[in-house]
């Protein structure tokens, strides 16, 4: 479950592990509880499929989207919005920070080290065991170390988001669960929960029993979907 004790949730992980979808879902879920919610898109890695693409949805829900706007939203520039400082230090805001993939994406996060270090935050690492280079405990550990090094922050929790896109089966989720559990034990970072597409709720009923599960919807859709 999302830990509401922490005002700031930062989502990191390997490139393509599902950080943006999780960030969007967490922001929408937080808005059901909190009056003021902001999502910050720090993704300087992906040129498409970033959380800024669901801007209209955030506006409808009264969520502040902090991202390059207007022409800059689709520019080929590795930029972030300075507006983040407005919500970073405002205790009335719940803040979700969607970071770009791998160490290259997390480098962007490093610049907020001096702001974040004294704030109440959780830094989560998303695992998708079906992605190349993070399908093993060693691969996950290496990526975590690199992200911690460039961000100068410690990962505080792991999320299992193992999926195969539209072809995700229970088997994928279980495999990712075991992998994340093993990684969690190895690095002594708590395994917080597993995210599963809401469409699979029925199929994973038995697996979900007694486990921390967050059901998520997909927002990054392709024009034929």
């Amino acid at each position: 479950m999302q830990n509401n004790d922490q005002r700031i949730t930062i989502i990191t992980g390997h490139f393509g592990s599902g950080k943006t979808e999780i960030s969007i879902n967490l922001a929408l879920q937080a808005r059901k509880i909190f009056e003021k919610v902001a999502i910050t898109d720090l993704d300087v890695i992906n040129p498409y499929f970033r959380s800024r693409e669901v801007a209209a949805q955030f506006e409808n829900q009264g969520i502040d989207l902090i991202a390059p706007k207007g022409k800059l939203a689709s520019s080929d520039l590795p930029i972030v919005s300075g507006e983040i400082y407005r919500v970073l230090h405002d205790p009335s805001y719940q803040l979700i920070i969607d970071v770009g993939g791998d160490k290259d994406g997390a480098t962007t996060l490093g610049q907020y080290y001096n702001d974040l270090k004294d704030l109440n935050y959780e830094l989560l690492f998303v695992v998708n065991g079906n992605r190349p280079y993070v399908s093993t405990v060693e691969g996950i550990l290496e990526t975590i170390q690199q992200i911690e090094m460039v961000s100068r922050l410690k990962i505080t929790g792991l999320i299992n988001n193992t999926n195969l896109g539209v072809e995700t089966s229970l088997e994928d989720i279980e495999k990712g669960y075991q992998l994340t559990k093993a990684a969690s034990e190895k690095v002594s970072i708590p395994f917080l929960y597993t995210t599963i597409s809401a469409g699979l709720k029925e199929e994973v009923k038995d697996f979900a029993e007694g486990k921390e599960i967050v059901y998520i919807d997909r927002y990054m859709k392709l024009p034929w979907e």
Binding site: P47, Y48, S74, N130, N163, L164, E167, P223
Partner: protein, 353 residues
């Protein structure tokens, strides 16, 4: 190998590695930079060489050098970078050097945008650089299809001693889908007895060159190239017919756009309009036969592209006035929607939504 979830650009790179390509020279550009990054990490793992050149012009000339030495080699870029590579590509054609060139197309002209487009069709299919030549162009629509076509691209390159394009768009490069890399038996390819690998007292030096100062000699060389293109036209056509058997109308689309068109087609069918689709997979050689077989049976074609109308010219050349050929396109990085295509189908069928 089990299925993995990958980004299109990563699939292009991994598919090339699986096709035994161990040399990559390139220069990053959005929306294909992940391909470059993947190669930088992956090629050293298989004992290959990745080199980020100082420019696209340098990269294509490094490809020329590696191809001349007889190895499987590739480069990739997006539209403006491919324009820069045209001189080198023409030289490779002249020297008959095999290589794969990937273009993950973005909106143009000029620096344009980083959003997806299909507006480099003419450049890929009609030459692009100087001189009389053709380049085989393969256009995958799914990430799984990239895996198969990449192997084909390298095989065609080696078989006919020619550069081959793999043409995608930003959407194909950036999207994620499950893919499986299956072992594919290697086909028999001619020995590269022309490659400049150094003499060992086994004859004179081998020279790989596109300079032919004697016009009669150059004309003969051109005739040789044209004969080769004829063979490619005969052997390397690839396309998919989708629900064309009973179709009154046929959509024509390639790459990612064909997937949008396919859904519009289903919606039109549910309204009682019998629509089929021809999806060219090889853009050159263009699948003439698919049109010759249908042009006297259908009431019209609708070509859908992310361009101002490029492939539609080839469709018209194949249909030769036997049926009307309509066009719908979006440009500048805009993507046609299912609804827009459906509206055009309904219009073509003389109805209203």
């Amino acid at each position: 190998m089990a299925k993995v979830l990958m980004k299109g650009n990563e699939v292009i790179a991994e598919a090339a590695v699986q096709a035994n390509c161990k040399y990559y020279f390139g220069y990053p550009i959005t929306p294909q930079s992940e391909l470059v990054a993947y190669m930088a990490k992956r090629l050293p793992e298989v004992g290959g060489l990745f080199l980020q050149a100082e420019s696209e012009v340098a990269a294509i000339n490094m490809v020329y050098g590696a191809a001349a030495a007889g190895v499987r080699v590739m480069t990739s870029s997006s539209s403006p970078g491919i324009s820069l590579k045209q001189e080198g590509i023409s030289y490779m054609v002249g020297s008959e050097l095999p290589a794969v060139v990937v273009n993950v197309v973005r909106g143009g002209p000029g620096l344009g945008t980083i959003q997806p487009a299909q507006s480099d069709y003419f450049q890929a299919v009609k030459g692009g650089g100087h001189g009389d030549y053709q380049i085989p162009v393969l256009a995958p629509a799914t990430l799984q299809e990239i895996v198969d076509l990449m192997q084909d691209a390298f095989d065609i390159a080696d078989k006919y001693r020619t550069p081959v394009y793999l043409l995608g768009d930003g959407m194909l490069g950036q999207m994620m889908e499950p893919v499986e890399f299956k072992e594919r038996p290697a086909i028999e390819l001619p020995e590269k007895d022309w490659a400049a690998t150094g003499t060992r007292g086994d004859g004179g030096p081998r020279i790989v060159n596109s300079l032919r100062l004697d016009p009669a000699d150059l004309e003969e060389h051109n005739n040789h190239l044209q004969a080769k293109y004829k063979k490619i036209l005969e052997n390397e056509v690839r396309y998919e017919n989708y629900m064309t058997d009973d179709a009154d109308y046929i959509l024509v689309a390639y790459g990612t756009v064909s997937r949008i068109a396919k859904n519009a087609l289903q919606k039109a069918r549910s309204k009682g309009i019998k629509v089929g689709m021809i999806r060219p997979i090889s853009l050159w050689p263009f699948p003439e036969k698919a049109f010759h077989e249908t042009r006297d049976k259908v009431k019209g074609y609708l070509t859908v592209e992310m361009s101002a109308g490029q492939m539609v010219e080839d469709v018209r050349l194949c249909v030769e006035g036997h049926a009307p050929v309509h066009f719908y396109g979006r440009t500048g990085g805009m993507v046609p929607s299912q609804e827009e295509i459906l509206k055009k189908i309904v219009e073509m069928a003389g109805g209203e939504l």
